[in-house]
Amino acid sequence: MKTHSSLKWQILKKVIIVHGIIAIFLTLLQLKLNYDTTLNLIKKNLTSSYDMFGPPLSQAFYHANLPMLEEIFQGILSQEDFLGVAIYDSLSNEFISRGKTQIDSNILLKYISTEPLFFELNDKSNTIGYQSPIKILIEKDKKKYFGNLIVFSSKDIAFKRNLSTVYIVFFNSIIKAIVLLVLFILLFNRLLINPLTQINDVVSNLSSNNIKSLRLNLQTPKSHELYTFQIQFNKLLDDLNYAQEQERLLQHKSKCIAIGDMIGNIAHQWRQPIATVNMIIIVLLEKQELKTLEEKELTEKLLEIENQNKYMSETIENFLDLFKQNKKTETFSLYQLINSTKNILKTKLENNNIQLKLDIPENITMKCDAQNLTQLLIIIFSNAIDSIINKGDEYNKNIEVSVQKNEKTTIVIKDYGTGIDKENMFRIFEPYFSTKHESQGVGLGLYIAKKLIEKSLHGHIDVENHPNGAIFKITI
C-alpha cells in the first residue's frame, strides 16, 4: 500500500508541477491572446472611427464649423482607446491636432494617403494610428477629397489593460488547473490507483498457498487495457494455482518415495538381524531338541537376540528422527551428521562393497536444519551408490566426502560411478527426469534434493563430472 501511495504521490507531484507549468503557460497564452484581441479591438475602433465621426467631421471641417469640429474632436477623444486625433487639410496643407498624442506634421505627412491606411510609429511611445481620407459631397454624386482624419492610440493601452487582468487570468488558470487536477486525481484513482492497489493485494497474497481463492476483479470496461491485463493475470493465477497443485502433488509423491526409500533401507537394515535372530532361534531349538543346550549358551544367544533387536530398534529411531515434523535450525558437528547418514546407508554400502570415505575434520560445525541436510545427503549418497553399482567397476567402488570451509561450507561428494552425460547435466534436477531403470526410481530424488537445499537450507547444489564419475557440491 505504501508503495502505491508513494507512486501515487510521485505521479501527483509531477502532475501538480505539470499543471503549474500549464497554468503559467495558459496564463501567458491567455494574456497574449487578450493582448492581441485588445490590440485588434483598438485597431478596429481606430479603423471604424471614420464610420462614426467621418461624415459630421468632414462636414464640420470642410465648412469651417469649428465649434462642431471641437465637439467632434472631444467625441473622438472621449473614446477610451483614442489618445489623439488630427485632421489634415489637403487644400491648405495644414494639420489640426488634439489630444495627448501630438505627432509632428512632417512625420504624419508620410502616412497621408487617399486610401485608408493603418500605421505604426517606430518610436518609444508605441503609437499606432489610422488615417482615412475625408471626402465631401460637393455636388450630386460628386465627392471631393480634401483631407484626412488621423486617429491615434498606443499599444501600451492594450498592454496595460491586460496587465490589470493578469491576476484574474492567472487565478482563472489556477482554478482551471485545480479543477483539472481534482478530476485527474479522481480519474487517476478510479482508473489506475484503485486497480493497482487491487493488483498489489492479489500479488502480495501470491506467496500464500491459497492462490486458488485469488482473483483479480477490477471492474473496468472491456475496452480498457486493464481488462485485458486482468484476463491475462487471472490466467496466470490459474497457471500458478495449477503449478502449485502440481508442486504439492510432487511433494506428496516425494514424501511417499522418501518413505518407500526409508522402508527399503529399514528392510535392508533389518534383513541381517532378522536372519541372525532366526539362525539363533533355529540353533537354540535344535540344541534344545538334542538336549545339548546349556544355560550359559542360552543366555549368550538371548543376549545376542536382544542386541539384534536393539540394533533394529535404533534403526527405526534413526529413520523416525529423519522424518520428524519439528524441524529446526541447530548447530551440529558435520562429521557426526555425515557419519550418522553413513550408518543409515550402512547395509546398502556393505552389501555392494562400496566404501564411503570421510575426509572431514571432526571439529567442523554447521548451523542449519540438520534433518533436511541428512535427507539431502541420503539422496546424494543413494544416487552415488546406484551410479557405482551401474558402472560395475569392481576395483573402484568409492564415495569420497570432503568439506571446504570458507564463508560458507561446501560439502563435496565425489563418486566413482557412471558420471552424468553432458546433455543431461542441466536436466538432472528436473522432476521425473531419470537415467535409471524404472525399477530403480521415478526421477524425483535430485529434484527433491534441489528443493531441500534451496528452500529449507537456503544454499545451492552444483554438479560436475570428473574422469571417473561425478562430483556434487552442496554449499550452505
Partner: protein, 380 residues
C-alpha cells in the same frame, strides 16, 4: 310706392349689414377707431441682427395701428419654438388676436396646426415654405393661415452676385488664372430664404463664365462661422478674393476677420450680403462692404397692417388671387446716391414717431398695398 321700396331696401341693407358681419371672419369686426386695441404677437428666433431690426420695426408701427405688439423670441431650438408658441397661444393671458411669424427650420406647418387649434389667425412673412414643406398655400389646408409675404430672395441673391462680380472686376481682384475666385457663406440649408438666394447666385454665376466658386461654406447665418470660414478659405484658396454672404451679419463677420488678419477691403478682398441692416449702412458707404441688399425687415409692418385689416373686417385676400405677396428689396453700394434714414435702433424709433402707419391700411386709405420699403422711407 318708390318711397316704400326705398325704405324696404334701406332696412334690408341695414339688416344684412348688421347680421352678416359676424360671419365674415373669426374675429373680424367692422373697422372703427373706437374698437378696442388688437393684440398681435410676433414670434421669431433670436433678437439679434435681422430679427432684432425686424421686430423693432413692428414695434414702432404698432401704436399708430392701435395694436398691442407682443414680441417673443423663442431661441434657436425648433423644439422650444413649438412649445413656446403653443404656450402663448393657449394661455388666455397671452393669447393674441393674431400673430406673425416666419418658417423657422421648416416648423411652419406645426405652428399653423397650433394656430388652427387655438383659433388664432396668422401671417407668415420673410421666410416662406421650402420645397420640402407641405402646408400649402394660405387659406387652403389651414384656413387661419391668412397670408404670406416674402421678399424676392432669388433676385436679391442674383443682384448681390452681379454687384460683387462687377466690383471685383473694377478692383482687378482676379486670380492668377485671370478668373474671379469666389467663396460662398451660405445661410441655413433648411431656410427657404437661403435656398432662393443661392438660386439667384447660381443663376448669376451661369451668366458669368470667368467666375470660379472655390467653396460653399455652410455657415448657417452665423457670423462667427463666417469668420472661421474666412480663415479657412484664406488658407485653402489664396486666390479667392470675393466673399458672397447670404446675410449682412456674415458679411460683417468676413470683414472683421479679414481686418484682424490684416487684409484690406477692395484690395485683398470684397464682400457683400443681404438684409441691408441699419448698422451696415456706414460700412457700405465707406466701402468696407461692397454691397448690401435688403431692408425687407419692414415686412413686419406690412404683415401687421394685413392682420390689422383682416381683424377689422377688411380682408386683403382677393377672390382671383392667392394671398401671397412679394416685397421689394433695396440695394445699397458705396455709389448709392440715397441712403436709409436709419442707422441704428434708436434711429428707427425716432423715424417712426412721425409716421402714421394706419395710412397704409386698406381699411382706412382704401389704397392697394405696395409692399415696398420705399413707401416708409420718404426721403428715398
Amino acid at each position: 310706392m318708390l318711397k316704400y321700396c326705398q325704405t324696404r331696401i334701406a332696412k334690408l341693407t341695414i339688416f344684412i349689414f348688421i347680421f352678416s358681419a359676424p360671419f365674415t371672419g373669426i374675429n373680424q369686426k367692422l373697422y372703427s377707431d373706437e374698437i378696442k386695441k388688437l393684440k398681435i404677437a410676433h414670434f421669431y428666433s433670436i433678437k439679434e441682427g435681422f430679427w432684432d431690426i425686424c421686430t423693432t420695426f413692428g414695434a414702432v408701427a404698432a401704436p399708430s395701428l392701435n395694436i398691442q405688439f407682443d414680441s417673443y423670441s423663442y431661441g434657436k431650438s425648433p423644439l422650444m419654438q413649438i412649445e413656446f408658441i403653443k404656450k402663448i397661444l393657449n394661455d388666455p393671458k397671452t393669447k393674441p388676436d393674431g400673430f406673425i411669424f416666419h418658417n423657422f427650420k421648416m416648423r411652419g406647418e406645426q405652428i399653423l396646426k397650433i394656430a388652427q387649434k387655438a383659433n388664432v389667425p396668422a401671417i407668415m412673412f420673410n421666410a416662406g415654405p421650402t420645397p420640402k414643406d407641405s402646408f400649402g398655400n394660405p387659406r387652403e389646408k389651414y384656413p387661419l393661415y391668412l397670408g404670406l409675404i416674402t421678399p424676392n430672395d432669388e433676385k436679391a441673391g442674383y443682384d448681390l452676385t452681379i454687384k460683387l462680380i462687377s466690383k471685383a472686376r473694377e478692383k482687378n481682384l482676379q486670380g492668377k488664372d485671370g478668373k474671379i475666385h469666389i467663396c460662398i457663406m451660405e445661410g441655413s440649408r433648411y431656410s427657404n430664404a437661403a435656398i432662393l438666394r443661392k438660386k439667384g447666385l447660381t443663376k448669376a454665376l451661369k451668366e458669368n463664365s470667368d467666375i470660379v466658386v472655390d467653396q460653399y461654406f455652410d455657415t448657417n447665418w452665423n457670423k462667427l462661422r463666417a469668420k472661421d470660414a474666412y480663415v479657412m478659405a484664406l488658407k485653402r484658396y489664396p486666390e479667392a478674393k470675393v466673399f458672397w454672404a447670404a446675410s449682412d451679419d456674415m458679411a460683417v463677420g468676413v470683414l472683421e476677420q479679414a481686418k484682424i488678419l490684416g487684409k484690406k477691403p477692395n484690395i485683398d478682398f470684397i464682400t457683400g450680403g443681404i438684409d441691408l441692416l441699419p448698422s451696415i449702412q456706414s460700412k457700405v458707404i465707406n466701402g468696407d462692404i461692397a454691397v448690401s441688399i435688403g431692408a425687407h425687415y419692414t415686412e413686419s409692418i406690412w404683415a401687421l397692417i394685413l392682420l390689422h385689416d383682416y381683424l377689422h373686417g377688411c380682408d386683403f385676400a382677393k377672390e382671383s388671387q392667392l394671398p401671397i405677396f412679394k416685397s421689394t428689396m433695396l440695394s445699397l453700394t458705396s455709389k448709392s446716391k440715397t441712403i436709409l434714414p436709419i442707422s441704428s435702433k434708436e434711429d428707427i424709433i425716432k423715424w417712426a414717431k412721425n409716421i402714421d402707419f394706419s395710412k397704409y391700411s386698406k381699411c382706412k386709405s382704401k389704397k392697394e398695398y405696395s409692399f415696398d420699403s420705399k413707401d416708409f422711407f420718404k426721403n428715398l
